[in-house]
Symmetry: C2
Subunit: 152 residues, 2 copies
């Protein structure tokens, strides 16, 4: 397999990674990095997915969010099927450069989740009690289901 | 080793996981799930870390954020050393239940990142150009460094 030229800086020492300006994202053993998409206007967390090097490079170059699907094992441009593409206004990286934060505007009907909600985080977990299998999630009643039958 | 009683519901079928009310978080091969902490007031993403079953159970029960450090291989109560504990006002789970979102209030000097910034995402990645090793990160000038020498 031909080797492609490197697209990111090599991982330097701890200080360089955390306090420097080289972009040296850390991909895990599977070649993936976690990426969070948050609404550019409200800051609301919309979804969490993974990127490989190619997805991150495409997202940087095209300003449209690309991910790598672990279940389908393929690159995936968010919204390709549903029309709910994510237009990236800003990309941030965290201190140790093992997580990516995208600020995005959602195209289409503003649905980031394939379940038809604005955000994938449409259910809450009860807090303040012992964790046990009978705990029940609650649906966020203010987050109505806008669409159904979406594929991505 | 004695087996502890289960603390979460078993993973059901796809529909049950995504549209039901059983809390059946998916831990990866290392027994971890990704957890995002966002400011309860502003919605700003502050940090990303991992939880094992015990960290998630403790967070639910105590309303204080616990994580599992992959580098130190131990449970870790955020703010234990720095005083910047995260008081959890809400916990959410995403559609396929493989990511946790915490809404938090930060105690102490409101610094979530061990580098002394409000958020770990204090640097931006340039967008709209080809990804190459010479890309340089920019520091968010509005996110001033509040503290230094913090340990967690």
């Amino acid at each position: 397999m031909p080797t492609s030229p490197p697209r990111f800086a090599p991982r330097g020492d701890h200080d360089a990674i955390e306090t420097g300006t080289d972009f040296a994202p850390k991909f895990d053993a599977d070649g993936l990095i976690v990426a969070i998409a948050a609404d550019a206007t409200t800051g609301e967390v919309l979804m969490v997915a993974h990127m490989n090097e190619e997805a991150l490079a495409r997202t940087i170059a095209t300003r449209s969010a690309w991910f790598f699907s672990r279940s389908r094992k393929k690159l995936w441009r968010k919204g390709e099927e549903s029309g709910n593409t994510l237009s990236v206004t800003e990309i941030r990286v965290d201190c140790d450069q093992d997580a990516i934060l995208l600020k995005v505007d959602i195209a289409g009907d503003a649905v980031a989740c394939h379940q038809g909600y604005r955000s994938c985080f449409y259910r809450t977990v009860p807090v303040g009690a012992e964790a046990k299998p009978s705990l029940k999630l609650s649906f966020d009643r203010e987050m109505r289901r806008i669409a159904s039958g979406k594929k991505d």
